[in-house]
């Protein structure tokens, strides 16, 4: 299960329909429909109930959407953190160059 699919599920739940979510995700309806089917097939679980116009999440779908939102947020935060760490290394290096005379200048770049 990849983050991409989790994002799809969250978008569908928030939009209340596949077509609405597809617009938000810049995808086409058939593509998103197929991805959702594939996801349900992988899990062996029905995540949404098709009812007339849109869809509503099943109980399992609700659990997945809630947990998925957390996971996605953490993944995003993690990547941002990594970017900061990478920039932080540069910053530390600059400081080192400007420093006086400390013996150890290694930064483990």
């Amino acid at each position: 299960m990849e983050l991409r699919l989790l994002g799809y599920a969250v978008a569908i739940a928030e939009a209340g329909s596949i077509s609405g979510a597809a617009r938000r995700l810049h995808l086409t309806q058939p593509t998103l429909s197929r991805q959702l089917s594939e996801m349900e097939r992988q899990l062996g679980i029905k995540l949404f109930v098709r009812e007339g116009r849109g869809l509503t999440p099943t109980q399992a779908g609700q659990v997945l959407v809630r947990r998925a939102a957390t996971v996605l947020a953490e993944a995003e935060a993690a990547l941002k953190d990594v970017q900061l760490a990478a920039q932080g290394m540069t910053g530390r290096l600059t400081v080192t160059f400007a420093g006086s005379g400390s013996t150890d200048r290694s930064v483990a770049r």
Copy 2:
């Protein structure tokens, strides 16, 4: 950034080498090497320093590995939770059949 790539990074860090991680992941060394390069290219950040035999994570790499392990664990737990929710629905139904006559048997699992 997909969970698969995060798992690759964690495995490489834990094994201390691409070949070791590849064995654990049931992949070939070239494949894993390429995936790591692709990951570093996507982020625009060097995650591991190649030094002779194996590799060691940079500071940014350490941050990513630590955070990635958390994300992966949560994603796995989330999926397990979804499975439980799906089974729980069935279970709840069974209890309902066997139960006496309470109006609300919901458990919000």
